[in-house]
């Protein structure tokens, strides 16, 4: 390596080991190995690795993944969105109002909600690029505005802050099933029959497996991660995202439509938040004004654990997904391990700090900065 240091860095040869080590995903991979080792040691017999336990932390991780993909791409493009949590609450409430209060067919309610929320994301992006204000401030305003409407609208129309009855309304709706359904039910029923997973002992579901399918939430999470990863690493648009977040002015000089990229990323973040909301509303059957509180920070934490840089221009969707997995496994795993739940935030803080320190170390290796 020393003899190569005089040559142009772009054609500098690096060893394959070094190249494997200095990926942005490394922090996430190491973190996952550490976390799983830890819980295998301390919570193995607590039910955490039974079929039900695995489904439990997978679903929680998938929730984080859905919002982390949007937050990750936006952060790489150099912006933040603090309104993700409020958007989740708002989108859920819109579906309830359209579907239950106004009694529209569920698929129209869902599509209308998507249009409204993605448009709100575009407004966020438009204000940010037009005014040049930090997205931190603009989306903080959106956080309050959306949360306020999420409480005000149902309170005015229905005199309550939780609207239920969505499950009944969505019964048999094709688009509702895309978000709230489960797949591979036959396969899981078979697993239950042959005794691989346990079955309910009593009640109306006696004899059915305790895990009866893979929730669409998980399918959406994997789908979004794959799409996000391919777009970011295999397309021209992906390069534009990196360029817009790395040095916006330099990107403009070489012809990257920075404004358009940023607005599109705000819209995508809003889309991801809406996917989260629709899955949750379809599964639980009600929308509440308190849904999604603080989820924006959870998304950012997952992205940062996954190796993205808060200043933009650097990061990976796979890393963000791994970060979300760590987050979900730790959150639910601490319950399985029987840790006092008030200490959860302590763990979260410690893990976040360790991840950031590790990631900074890796980045210095890559860029050579001191």
């Amino acid at each position: 390596m020393t003899d190569a240091s005089n040559r142009d860095e772009r054609i500098k040869e690096t060893s394959s080991l070094r190249r494997a080590m200095i990926r942005p995903e490394l922090g996430g991979i190491v973190g996952n190995i550490a976390v799983f080792t830890f819980f295998l040691l301390f919570a193995y017999d607590s039910g955490m690795f039974s079929s039900q336990g695995v489904l439990n932390w997978s679903v929680v991780s998938a929730q984080f993944m859905i919002i982390a993909v949007g937050a990750c791409l936006l952060m790489i493009a150099g912006e933040f969105d603090l309104s993700v949590g409020s958007m989740i609450g708002f989108a859920g409430m819109m579906i309830a109002i359209f579907g239950v209060t106004l009694a529209w067919p569920m698929w129209i309610a869902i599509l209308t909600t998507f249009v409204i929320c993605v448009a709100l994301g575009a407004v966020n992006g438009f204000i940010v690029v037009r005014t040049g204000l930090p997205s931190f401030i603009v989306t903080l305003a959106t956080l309050f505005i959306l949360r306020g409407f999420t409480i005000f609208i149902p309170q005015t129309l229905e005199r309550k802050t939780i609207i239920g009855g969505i499950r009944e309304t969505a019964e048999g709706d094709w688009l509702g099933a895309v978000f709230g359904g489960k797949i591979l039910k036959g396969f899981f029923a078979w697993l239950g029959d042959i005794g691989v997973i346990s079955v309910f002992e009593s009640g109306t579901r006696a004899g059915q497996p305790v895990v009866d399918g893979v929730p669409m939430l998980i399918v959406w999470a994997i789908g979004l991660v794959v799409v996000g990863h391919v777009v970011l690493t295999r397309t021209r648009f992906g390069n534009w995202i990196f360029a817009a977040g790395g040095d916006a002015q330099a990107a403009r000089y070489v012809g990257v439509p920075v404004e358009r990229v940023k607005i599109l990323m705000f819209m995508f973040t809003a889309f991801c938040a809406t996917v989260f909301a629709v899955c949750q509303v379809m599964e639980f059957g009600s929308a509440g004004a308190d849904r999604g509180l603080l989820k924006e920070f959870e998304a950012i934490i997952a992205v940062v654990i996954g190796g993205a840089l808060l200043t933009g221009g650097y990061g990976s969707v796979i890393g963000a997904a791994l970060g979300a997995l760590i987050f979900g496994v730790v959150q639910q795993g601490l319950f399985f391990a029987g840790v006092e739940s008030s200490l959860f935030r302590v763990f979260l803080g410690v893990i976040l700090l360790l991840a950031v320190i590790l990631n900074t170390y890796i980045r210095r290796l890559i860029t050579g900065e001191r």
Binding site: F38, S50, Q155, T161, G203, A206, V210, G288, L293, G338
Partner: protein, 316 residues
């Protein structure tokens, strides 16, 4: 590089080890999980934690307390699913939103876990999800009784300070109060938020905009404590009719000084303590009380405050 990784893993294990040890020290055969909907910041649930701790000690069982840190009921559903997956001998949970929580609770019941509903929800809902019983204070009924009492004392209009507007049971208390008074709720309920200074300012703002308000109703220490301050500051303390749900140290002081006319004690201690006793005896000897248990409402007034005062915030 390698040594850095090792350091990270080692330090994670080192930090976690003492916490793990304390959690496993009980090693008892009966394990219960209590799941509440309360955010970390709600101090009222300290009484519940104390009740659980005392019952666990007396019955020699392990009880774990869990809650969604932000009070998000979607997260609470995941916690119940998680609790069921860890296969405890019983689950004690609140039923803050039937739509969200009934699915996970019913799945736990079907899995063969005994469930007792405490605090939120209703006896009918508890029966519908297949729970053994309901231990709590029916919220609408308690609000209604309070409204009737206030009506007898000559109240015609009121302000309901709702600090937890996203929970339907909070709104039911206000609605019950309005119905008990026989008036339309209209705009008499405000969303105060959880922050003490915001609550104080909003109460003052409402009362200066509506100076002819007869009564103030608060829904717990979170909204009562700042409201006491607000009334002392604008000179209405002791003058305006003041009732509150739940007890706490400041509320007891308010009762003593005459600022607060009555407090409704739903006795959260019993809501946490009794389910543990019931479950432990059911698991050990198969005995089970034949009905739901109403832990409240009980009106606490200036008389007979001594015991309440001694244990306010701890067991009361």
């Amino acid at each position: 590089m390698k040594s850095a990784l090792k350091k990270v893993m080692l330090s994670t294990a080192l930090i976690a080890a003492p916490l793990m040890a304390s959690a496993e020290a009980h090693g008892d055969d009966l394990t219960y999980v209590l799941v509440s909907h309360a955010p970390d910041s709600d101090s009222w649930w300290n009484t519940v934690k104390n009740g659980v701790a005392l019952a666990a000690e007396q019955m020699d069982v392990t009880v774990e307390y869990r809650n969604p840190p932000t009070g998000d009921l979607g997260d609470m559903a995941r916690i119940i699913e998680q609790a069921a997956a860890s296969n405890p001998d019983g689950i004690i949970t609140t039923l803050a939103d039937f739509d969200v929580l009934s699915g996970p609770i019913r799945a736990a019941v079907d899995q063969g876990i005994d469930v007792i509903i405490m605090n939120s929800g209703s006896p009918e809902q508890a029966a519908e999800v297949g729970a053994l019983m309901y231990v709590g204070q029916p919220e609408y009924d308690a609000g209604f009784a309070a409204g009737q009492r206030a009506g007898r004392d000559g109240v015609g209009s009121f302000l309901c300070v709702n600090h937890y507007i996203s929970s339907p049971s909070s709104t039911e208390r206000c609605q019950g109060f309005a119905d008990g008074l026989g008036v339309d709720m209209g705009n008499q309920m405000i969303d105060s938020g959880q922050d003490p200074s915001e609550i104080k300012n909003r109460v003052q703002a409402y009362l200066s905009a509506n100076p002819d308000t007869d009564a103030v109703l608060t829904l717990g220490p979170t909204s009562a404590d700042p409201t006491i301050l607000a009334l002392e500051e604008n000179g209405m303390a002791g003058d305006i009719y003041f009732g509150t749900f739940d007890l706490g140290e400041e509320i007891v002081n308010g009762l003593k000084s005459g600022v607060i006319n009555w407090g409704i004690d739903q006795q959260p201690f019993l809501q946490a303590y009794l389910p543990v006793i019931v479950l432990a005896n059911y698991d050990r000897y198969g005995v089970l009380p034949g009905n739901n248990i109403n832990s409240g409402p009980g009106f606490v007034t200036r008389d007979a405050l001594a015991k309440v005062e001694e244990f306010a915030g701890e067991f009361r």
